[in-house]
């Protein structure tokens, strides 16, 4: 196939793809045709986006960020957006054998035909999948090898807040909320194309950077010191901002997306509809990157939420709704929302869920509302740290008494199982801190037996390895090595097993710590880590978020080959604590957080000093609101759900079921949503 000729054709490749599909696993994931998906004529659009979630379809399809951007872009009359996901190795091999490119699932067009290729990263472990997609699309892996016939490759998502490890592979990066950014980018591309594409892609990128829409890695040079640390990151043009900054969407009530969520034909990891009830979190958990980079808190009000739930259910036929946010029980009107939604859907076989892990009795009350007539299987609480001391370090203030009181309430209300979530490898952590998890588990089981009146009580202790992330107070911290984490968890497991009282009541879940080391490398890496990613990919690295595909040895080998000649290493990037004045790879990117505040908070962490939530106490000047010109937007508004018309009233009216989508009704959204 001649790629150059094919470009701009936008032709469907389905006829050539179809004969390959019976030969791959679960072909339905590649056929498109989802409910509420949109296919526009190629020639009717001036600006064309291919949007990718760089993981398998079953994980990528439910991603709210991508669904939001897909719908917003397609609402523009002269903009077209289609979706693409990572193909599994079986199809990758067939595409290569038959000379077929990375394709979109909507109209099965070649990704290389589009103007823009936007890739949303929730996790750093998707980086090798980006390279597969670029290579299959016929787009040179390195941005500096691309010419005007290639799409602009734009990264977004939480992981893109430190995009330096993939700086060589992307043309531009969107920081923060993507809704307005993608529209702004489309405007610039439209104008540039209508002028006849003056100055080629470099001029286009410069315009985007000048308009403060994107960060263009190529417009910044990085120099290094003899000890391998970064000396400086400086812009190499004078006409662009020296500190690209994040986008913050204000007034989420005006952006009730997705209005018509996608309804997949294939089975996916979340078989439900999601409504994002607020964005941002100021609880100030020091390990939590999502909480830091999505500030300030911006709530949707109860009316918008009610309308989004209603319209989304009508448009999709889903029977489960998740009310998403970083800490859903914190919504100022959550009590009313829970009661009124539960009332509204009581007889409709719609189940509601609130993915909240807050340790308090109110949270149990909310869960009770949502399970009035449903099964009460399990509730999850996240104390995160095993000891009270450690919980002060991470600013997750929950006492053992709080936890016992909360789980007692849960068991007394008929909940059968409690899941407790902890992290291991936190800064200052010792063996003793981790062993206190066993004490907590014992207290929980005892409380459960007492509250429920029977012995058959179960709790699951689920433990994740802590990975320090950019733009958090722990960005300077040393990451614990997989060996340290594994040893501590073995100790904990042995302790629990040796305790006859609880051994059989406590389930223990812990995943291999080694992917966490690689996640840490990619999360705090600089541009030199790009060569590691590329080497791993060339040696077959794919789907690193999947245990059966992840190879730690492959990453170790690549680190040794690429980093050690530079005086760095996997350990240097992960287990090394940084000093205050060390230039961090992402320091030139503005997430709104004041660096001095982050450092001060890191010092407070080491002293075990807590910090309150700025929603209920005075602002502590983290920097976000003044820097970004935003404000915390919370209720309560004192309003109620608006009544909905004719939910499940009567049978199918003669003349067709309710057709989805007219665009006027607000509907669902889910988790935070950068490009």
């Amino acid at each position: 196939m001649c790629r150059r000729l094919a470009r701009m054709s936008g032709q469907s490749l389905f006829a050539r793809l179809e004969p390959l599909l019976p030969r791959v696993r679960r072909p339905v994931q590649y056929v498109g045709g989802e409910g509420n998906s949109i296919v526009k004529p190629w020639d009717a659009a001036v600006v064309r986006w291919a949007l990718m979630y760089p993981d398998a379809y079953e994980v990528g399809l439910p991603n709210q960020g991508l669904q939001i951007l897909y719908e917003i872009l397609n609402e523009q009359p002269d903009v077209l957006a289609e979706r693409t996901y990572s193909v599994w190795p079986d199809l990758e091999a067939l595409l290569r054998e038959h000379d077929l490119p990375q394709f979109t699932v909507d109209a099965h067009r070649a990704v290389g035909d589009f103007d823009l290729f936007g890739v949303s990263f929730s996790t750093e472990l998707g980086y090798t999948n980006l390279l597969t997609a670029l290579d299959l699309a016929g787009i040179p892996l390195h941005a500096d090898r691309r010419d005007d016939t290639h799409p602009l490759v734009i990264a977004g998502g939480h992981a893109a807040f430190n995009p330096e490890p993939i700086a060589a592979f992307v043309d531009a990066v969107v920081l923060g909320d993507g809704e307005q950014a993608v529209l702004g980018i489309s405007d610039v591309v439209r104008a540039w194309k209508s002028e006849g594409a003056p100055g080629g892609r470099t001029e286009l990128l410069a315009r985007l950077a000048r308009r403060q829409l994107v960060y263009v890695p190529a417009f910044f040079d990085v120099t290094y010191r003899a000890d391998a640390r970064i000396e400086a990151v400086r812009p190499n043009r004078s006409d662009i901002p020296a500190r690209p900054s994040k986008h913050t969407l204000s007034d989420l009530d005006s952006w009730p997306y997705p209005k018509a969520p996608l309804v997949p034909l294939a089975e996916t990891v979340h078989e439900r509809m999601s409504v994002e009830i607020f964005r941002g979190c100021t609880r100030g958990c020091r390990f939590c990157q999502a909480g830091m980079i999505t500030r300030p808190v911006r709530e949707r009000n109860i009316e918008t939420i009610g309308a989004m739930v209603d319209a989304g259910l009508r448009a999709t036929g889903f029977n489960e709704v998740g009310l998403l946010s970083l800490s859903s029980a914190d919504h100022t009107e959550i009590g009313t929302i829970a009661t009124e939604l539960a009332d509204r859907y009581e007889n409709d076989k719609v189940s509601l869920s609130l993915p909240s892990t807050r340790v308090d009795a109110f949270n149990v009350t909310l869960a009770n509302e949502f399970s009035r007539s449903g099964r009460r299987s399990g509730l999850t609480f996240a104390p995160e740290g095993g000891s009270e001391r450690l919980r002060r370090v991470i600013n997750k203030m929950v006492s053992a008494e709080d936890l016992v009181r909360t789980v007692s309430t849960a068991y007394a209300h008929g909940w059968r199982q409690v899941k407790l979530y902890f992290m291991c490898g936190l800064p200052t952590e010792t063996d003793e801190d981790v062993l206190e998890i066993a004490d907590l588990a014992r207290q929980v089981i005892r409380a459960g037996r007492k509250a429920s009146g029977h012995r058959d009580i179960r709790a699951t202790v689920s433990i994740g390895g802590f990975v320090p992330k950019a733009h958090t107070p722990f960005q300077w911290a040393a990451q614990a090595s997989p060996e340290v984490i594994d040893a501590r968890l073995k100790l904990l497991r042995d302790t629990v097993r040796a305790d006859k009282e609880i051994a059989r009541a406590v389930g223990f879940r812990y995943h291999d710590g080694r992917p966490g080391a690689i996640e840490g490398l990619l999360a705090r890496g600089d541009r030199r880590v790009g060569t590691v990613i590329e080497r791993v990919w060339r040696e077959g690295g794919r789907f690193d978020g999947w245990t059966e595909h992840f190879s730690f040895e492959r990453w170790e080998r690549a680190c040794a080959a690429e980093l050690e000649p530079l005086g760095a290493s996997l350990d240097w990037f992960t287990t090394r604590e940084r000093e205050e004045r060390e230039v961090l790879p992402w320091d030139h990117l503005d997430a709104g957080l004041d660096r001095d505040w982050l450092w001060a908070d890191w010092q407070e962490a080491l002293r075990g000093v807590e910090l309150d939530d700025c929603r209920w106490t005075p602002c502590y000047d983290c920097g976000v609101c003044p820097t970004m010109g935003t404000d915390t937007q919370i209720g309560p508004t004192g309003r109620s759900l608006l009544p909905v018309i004719g939910v499940s009233a009567g049978g199918p009216a003669a003349g067709g079921g309710p057709k989805p989508v007219d665009g006027s009704d607000p509907s669902p959204v889910g988790s935070a949503a950068p490009a």
Partner: protein
């Protein structure tokens, strides 16, 4: 004391309807589970008054009759719904059809009566497009298959590899040419256990005559029903069809 679901028990079943639908085009890649999920959502969107099972986790009462395999298209899939309110069959048909993705097309809805659907279906008529296979080659292979008394094939199932005889299920096998490079196989297959599918018949053609299509075959189920003496199939909805047009539920109440 374990919790009981609150509220009244589910409303009683007042009617049942039988539905014939097609699985077409790219939706042939749907598995049975995918089809079932799409129907549950489509029924909700169309606001069909389904009857539900009791308990904490109520399910709409839907009975499926043997589904076409993943990758096979079909013009003749059948399903039965239990309803909690009377419904006019044609409005149910058009409402449900509009609520399902294009490619899952609702062809006919009739009130259910008489014998269970499963008792009215014991065979399928298939058409298999064989791109890359010339008609004379197929004709010879089919003749060889029909000459045999038994042909064992193997297929990977959920419970490991299974061996079974294809031959008794094959009632009729006819060949045509779509053009010089694409043959069409028309099959009537009795529903045996395990169900013999078109790909099993193709495996058998490989076993007896070394037929190996260079491109994936494209099977479509054209009909299901009771096998008659002359090799044709009786329409399983024919006995119900006289009732069509009546308000389902009213008549059976």
């Amino acid at each position: 004391m374990p919790r009981q679901p609150e509220g009244p028990p589910p409303p009683p079943v007042v009617a049942r309807v039988r539905v014939r639908f097609a699985k077409r085009g790219r939706l042939r890649f749907l598995s049975h589970r995918d089809v079932a999920r799409a129907f549950e959502r489509g029924l909700r969107r169309a606001q069909v008054p389904m009857a539900y099972s009791a308990g904490f986790n109520p399910h709409p009462r839907i009975s499926w009759v043997g589904a076409a395999p993943t990758g096979a298209a079909s013009e003749a899939e059948y399903v039965e719904f239990a309803l909690s309110a009377p419904v006019e069959p044609e409005s149910l048909r058009s409402a449900l059809d509009a609520s399902l993705p294009p490619g899952l097309d609702v062809l006919r809805v009739v009130p259910a009566g008489g014998a269970p659907l499963a008792e009215r279906i014991d065979a399928s008529r298939w058409q298999v497009r064989l791109p890359g296979v010339a008609e004379p080659v197929l004709r010879d292979a089919v003749a060889e298959l029909l000459r045999r008394d038994g042909v064992e094939v193997e297929r990977a199932t959920k419970d490991g590899r299974r061996r079974f005889d294809v031959r008794p299920a094959v009632i009729l096998a006819d060949c045509r040419a779509e053009n010089d490079t694409c043959a069409i196989l028309e099959l009537v297959a009795r529903h045996t256990t395990p169900a013999v599918r078109p790909d099993d018949v193709l495996t058998a053609l490989d076993v007896v005559a070394g037929l190996r299509p260079s491109a994936p075959p494209e099977p479509t189920r054209l009909e299901q029903g009771r096998l008659l003496e002359d090799g044709t199939l009786a329409d399983p909805l024919a006995p119900d069809r006289n009732d069509a047009g009546r308000l389902v539920g009213k008549s059976s109440a």
